[in-house]
Symmetry: D2
Subunit: 143 residues, 4 copies
């Protein structure tokens, strides 16, 4: 299996923090999502190009979780790594790990699908074509 | 056990949605957190008053998860219910359920603690005094 | 001139506030925008329906400003009023005023246009058809 | 006058954009504010250290404006420059300019003060000590 991974370095700012002075936690998920989109850009040309090729409206979220190990504050630099750890028929799973220096701040995951519009509803399309795009991008980079 | 619960009605707006036209998922956690704070206000006088009484810097997050069942879009009204479902020695757990009309949109949970500052570090304080405050508020309302 | 106005009542939460305990100011603009979209919903059936009728991709922003008179904090209820105060050929102007009880918190404006996609570019379409939709909605409500 | 300026390079992500596919405008102000805080960090050791020295609760916002010249979308890199262009007795003014490559996207300003808590109220303190801190930082860097 070719590993699909991307590292993002996120500057934590004053406005990301709450009255306790700590990052307001939904921002961590904003950063998960931004890192996923940066991964798509790096290995597959970006969400728009990939969705056009797959006939999908979006590589949307099904399930997500996060565990917070230590606080992040204004001025910190959060090094966040996203890694695709599971390819299923109609879902794929990303693992996230965020460090500030040597200190673990957040761990989490996202389970996503390839959303296809069918009339009023969304259904999950096949994931294999997405895998092929990203692995081809990673193989080109490795060669 | 006295049930600690709060219902929040959230108007979903254009700016909460992404280029696929669906709520950008970190906003769901923003709404979880806002509903938790509304619950504190209703039953315990709000986060500030409670933290002052407990000597805490915040009723912070340890672990969180969400499962997304169907999309929410601009103009929807999301009825989000928060419920405290577990009181442990140093953590407590909330369950969340968000509906648009009869349709299930999101389910999730938060595991939180009573954060106490100790020098540079945070530790989890006892949860029993928080429980006493909220149950007293709920008992007053019921009587 | 038929007045197009909408009042929005916004619960200010912990997560809207920064480490100084005061609303992080970009949230005020999020609330301006949400109030504009609620105004469209009330008088014209919502942004989607209006844009479909006008062949527009969005009633987008050109210019915006805000003046902050006093702070808003967790637990406040911000009463925000949006009013269309100017109809020009290719732009229209909204005025905003936000109060907490009797206290003025924020005043501002937005200058918006009816964005039409032309190849790679956006241009500002005529505003008169938008005005007709909203004034017809307001006239129906008044009768 | 020693120039106090800071350039920030901001990756625009999918989740920053609205259903029209364009950056939801309050995010531009989030980036203004983050760039201001990065400027404080670079020249004065950061907001916390500066406020401790000045006895201030925050270098808060009084007035703000933005003009949007062209859209920013997912995958763009926004080069945003903040510059202090005016030092008054109790306020100071920043100018912002955001480019994507050679294309102008946003121009704006912030008028800020040195907020001092006095009982329940905030008042604007003297700005000269802040100016001294930042100009000393810039002078050290230049020498």
């Amino acid at each position: 299996m070719i590993e699909i991974v991307h590292e993002n370095s996120i500057p934590v700012s004053f406005g990301d923090c709450d009255p306790a002075g700590i990052v307001h936690y939904p921002n961590h998920f904003r950063w998960f999502d931004a890192t996923f989109h940066a991964l798509l850009r790096r290995w597959g040309g970006g969400h728009n190009a990939i969705c056009a090729e797959l006939g999908s409206i979006g590589l949307g979220l099904i399930d997500v979780g996060g565990t917070f190990r230590s606080p992040a504050v204004n001025g910190d630099r959060l090094d966040l790594v996203a890694r695709i750890v599971e390819w299923n028929a109609r879902t794929f799973r990303l693992a996230y790990k965020g460090m500030i220096g040597e200190r673990l701040v957040v761990e989490g995951f996202e389970l996503r699908g390839v959303f296809i519009r069918e009339g009023e509803r969304l259904r999950g399309g096949e994931v294999a074509p997405l895998r092929a795009i990203l692995e081809a991008g990673a193989a080109r980079a490795a060669s």
